[in-house]
């Protein structure tokens, strides 16, 4: 066992000994609170979030473990309690999992984002379990008058071998509440894990398959009204006026009013990004009645700023790629000189459109705001920030605001931006009634915080022997500068130049599953394939040579290169082996790709099969190094989901604009991948290295776009540069 300092201000422990049944309750708040900026959310600093655990031991031995973080389908509601249960040494069958409420006194970092819940929570969650186990052991030692060191635990039992005494955790729980919180705790060796590393099914599975109310949209309360919003039809427009009277008399309609979501004096958090300052609210008895009134209501809008179209975004991004920014993001050696002496030069430009998040559950939130208090309940990835905005907007101290999280029907970054919850609260306050705000699918799709549109230009130089001697990348995005200058191949090329631009637009953007990586990985890995081909080398061998360079003789200080080349090469070698890689395999068109993001390494090989005249995705092999895999079953689910998501969006999805107005507003024109279009098979392999776990909700998505692009080239003989691939003419995929 490893002895670990609990790193705890012990006064930060909250003990509640007043539980019915004499249970033991421990709260954890190890680290000081920190506020995140959008930049931090995107750039994933090493020490980003704090984490908390919370558990109750019942006198019958059952253990309730609170899952502190929001659940958006990444399965932390199962995985985080597994880590606590492991160190507590309780049998999983004796664990009850509950979603913790937002409680900034007990918990910190209650956030779903950046694939960081497990990574950031790992040590704290383990200590949460281990500390409780320590106190139970101490209670037993005192009760039995035996040395602490002679007490052992197993699956919820305390044992003293010499005297033959034993007791369940439940029997010692009450006494344990009187034990001083230890300054040091023992953590298990990885080899002794009995829960971590096993397949545990989704703790909400039964509720999901039987249709139990779990999601924000399912919330119903006595006297609750339904609310909908009407927002400007185009980015760049704002409210001018309306005639609400005829609509107010429609059946079931209680009120129609214009309101300011964010008056100027509102102290906004980064999570309010994308919020529309003024909206119209429709409040009524039922959803359908509100929908009917929404259709009938005529609102006048006026132009507030430029009405932008996709053609404009495209031209402006292209223009940005033509010029060098004032400062490079990173510069090693002399690329210009290297290009002059290069034997071969490869140049390509890649682009991708805006994407909507399109969580299957549209935005919604329940709010009941009275002069005394505010109760909020719904799907939110950033509850703590929501509470702060509400305090400012409602003019209420945070102590009087209660934010609770429901399971979320998808997140993908959309629910980082809780403007809809603020809207719900403001409407409830105005109505002095409990309300549930519901966005229609159209509302959801046409006022998003979208994945930005991107464009990137690559240029590579090879010497006579096909060695990469120069690499120049210049990227631009809408409200986003796209480039991670210290990621691969930075550090593996002598002459390297990374440059980035951001195009300011009034179309609101934000984090979308694997921000920036979701585009740049595919572009980079497709370009890498072109360069490998020009070098005359096998695409995997070409990459491995670069990793060898980064391992043995890195350019720049190794710590400035934002990846570990050995782990990177490791997943590539693993996928090579598992897929029996040869570049012209068995008549099938294959592509390979590898990428590092969210602290994890992923390499993939994708086979295309002949469809009806067009290629279809066959099998995907995926190698992942995310350190210790807490729950292999759901880890594979995450990996599969990311692969399907990546293939789907790169192939089929786009959000375009005409005069500021989104041209797609529902799934009839916005195409998402469907069952027949998903890969035939996905096989996932995890590197077993015992390293502390890293992110998994996002990393499998970015590289698959490159693997698909590279396989498509093999199938069609054409490189493709513009997403979605389905729009390429002649079509590449069906």
């Amino acid at each position: 066992m490893t002895l670990v300092k609990t790193k705890i201000g012990r006064r930060a422990f909250i003990r509640n000994t007043g539980l019915a049944g004499g249970g033991l309750v421990l709260g954890f708040n190890w680290l000081a609170s920190c506020k995140m900026t959008p930049e931090q959310v995107r750039s994933l600093p090493k020490e980003w979030f704090e984490l908390n655990g919370f558990l109750k031991v019942g006198d019958n031995g059952l253990v309730t473990i609170m899952s502190p973080n929001p659940e958006i389908g990444q399965n932390v509601k199962t995985a985080m309690p597994m880590i606590i249960a492991e160190e507590l040494d309780v049998a999983w069958k004796d664990v009850i999992v509950e979603q913790a409420p937002l409680n900034t006194t007990i918990f910190t970092r209650q956030l779903a984002g950046g694939s960081q819940s497990i990574r950031q929570g790992w040590e704290s969650l383990r200590m949460a379990g281990a500390t409780a186990r320590h106190m139970l052991k101490e209670a037993a030692a005192q009760a039995w008058q035996v040395p602490f060191s002679e007490i052992t635990t197993k699956e919820g039992q305390l044992m003293h071998e010499a005297s033959g005494k034993s007791a369940g955790f439940g029997e010692m729980a009450s006494a344990a509440t009187g034990i001083e919180v230890p300054e040091e705790v023992e953590l298990k060796e990885n080899t002794n894990f009995s829960i971590i590393g096993t397949d545990i099914k989704n703790v909400d599975g039964e509720k999901i398959v039987t249709g139990k109310p779990l999601f924000g949209l399912d919330v119903q309360r006595e006297g609750m009204l339904t609310a909908m919003i009407v927002h400007p039809p185009a980015f760049g427009m704002k409210y001018k006026g309306m005639n609400a009277e005829s609509v107010k008399s429609m059946p079931g309609i209680k009120d129609v009013f214009h309101f300011e979501v964010y008056p100027e004096d509102t102290e906004k958090q980064w999570s309010d990004g994308g919020g529309i300052p003024e909206l119209v609210a429709i409040v009524g008895n039922s959803t359908w009645e509100c929908m009917q009134a929404k259709k009938a209501l005529e609102v006048e809008w006026q132009e507030d700023s430029k009405l932008e179209s996709t053609a404009y975004h495209d031209e402006a991004l292209t223009a940005l790629l033509e010029k060098a920014p004032e400062q490079p993001a990173r510069k090693d050696g002399d690329v210009e000189a290297a290009f002059k002496k290069a034997a071969k030069i490869v140049e390509s430009t890649y682009s991708a459109p805006y994407l909507a998040h399109n969580t299957m559950e549209p935005m919604n939130f329940f709010a009941h705001v009275t002069p005394e208090k505010a109760e909020l309940l719904g799907p939110i990835q950033t509850p703590e920030f929501l509470e702060l905005t509400l305090a400012s907007r409602l003019g209420m101290p945070v102590e009087k605001i209660d934010v609770m999280m429901t399971r979320m029907g998808g997140g993908f970054g959309r629910r980082l931006y809780g403007t809809f919850a603020v809207e719900a609260a403001v409407i409830s306050q105005k109505m002095n009634a409990p309300i549930k705000l519901v966005y229609t699918r159209e509302d959801d799709m046409t006022q998003g915080t979208y994945r930005p549109a991107y464009k990137v230009k690559y240029k590579a130089g090879l010497d006579e022997k096909g060695n990469l001697i120069a690499w120049h990348v210049r990227g631009a995005g809408t409200n986003d500068d796209l480039i991670f200058e210290n990621r691969f191949p930075a550090g593996a090329v002598d002459n390297y130049l990374a440059e980035k631009h951001s195009l300011q637009t009034n179309v609101t953007t934000g984090a979308w599953r694997a921000p920036r990586s979701n585009f740049i990985a595919g572009a980079e890995q497709a370009f890498m394939d072109e360069v490998a081909e020009a070098s005359g080398k096998d695409p995997i061998e070409f990459r491995l040579e670069l990793f060898d360079r980064a391992i043995n003789n890195p350019v720049g200080e190794p710590e400035t290169n934002d990846y570990d080349p050995e782990r990177y090469a490791g997943v590539l070698k693993l996928v090579k082996e598992k897929s029996n890689w040869t570049s012209n395999a068995n008549g099938k068109s294959r592509g390979v790709s590898a990428y590092y993001c969210h602290n994890s390494y992923v390499a993939q090989v994708l086979d295309l099969e002949d469809g009806d005249g067009m290629p279809k995705v066959g099998k995907v092999w995926c190698a992942v190094d995310c350190g210790i895999v807490v729950n292999p079953l759901s880890a594979k689910n995450q990996v599969e989901g990311g692969i399907v998501d990546g293939i789907g969006h790169a192939t089929y999805s786009a959000l375009s604009f005409k005069d500021g107005k989104p041209e797609q507003s529902n799934f009839d024109r916005y195409r998402l991948i469907r069952n027949t279009e998903a890969p035939k098979e996905i096989e996932t392999f995890f590197v077993d290295n015992g390293i502390d776990p890293t992110g998994l909700g996002e990393p499998s998505l970015p590289p698959i776009v490159g693997a698909l692009a590279n396989a498509l080239y093999k199938a069609t003989g054409r490189r493709h540069y513009s997403q979605p691939f389905i729009n390429e003419r002649p079509p590449l995929v069906g």
Binding site: E206, V209, T210, E361, R441, T676, E681
Partner: protein
């Protein structure tokens, strides 16, 4: 407004609503049967799938006035104890990620197996193609449908 007597999950239920109200909102808002989900409102995503006389039907575009005597089954009524073979297979395979679309997926799958107890891979994929899963659980959906078909 008009009164309708509906046969839902084997029980008669009376509602007083506008005739144009889609059955989805009757279920969710008026009868508190919220297992049937709203996803798009235009019959494109399948989240709202119910059985109408045993056939998989999109409830978001189906006015209550058009139901008549037809029997409605929702996810809440698919089985008494959540033990329909499709539900059991869904748990065994650990299909759901976020879980929001899964009630609709299960209703489509169970209607498929009712009419075609031994579907081919292609028949499964085609039958499930109308149900979008944003989390990308499609491979496990196929596997679970096959497992349910065998049981």
């Amino acid at each position: 407004m008009a009164t309708y007597t509906l046969n839902i999950n084997g029980k008669k239920q009376e509602v007083d609503v506008d005739p144009s109200t889609p059955i989805l909102w009757v279920l969710r808002d008026h009868l508190s049967l919220v297992g049937t989900k709203y996803g798009c409102g235009i019959a494109q995503c399948g989240a709202c799938t119910i059985h109408l006389d045993g056939k998989a039907t999109r409830s978001c575009v189906l006015p209550v006035s058009s139901i008549g005597e037809q029997k409605i089954t929702t996810i809440e009524g698919l089985s008494e104890n959540g033990d329909h073979p499709v539900q059991k297979a869904w748990l065994e395979v650990d299909v759901p990620q976020c879980g929001y679309c899964q009630a609709g997926q299960i209703m489509t799958a169970s209607a498929l197996l009712e009419s075609n107890p031994n579907p081919s891979d292609e028949e499964i994929e085609n039958a499930m193609n109308g149900n979008i899963c944003r989390c990308g659980t499609y491979l496990r959906i196929r596997k679970a449908v096959k497992m349910a078909a065998k049981s």
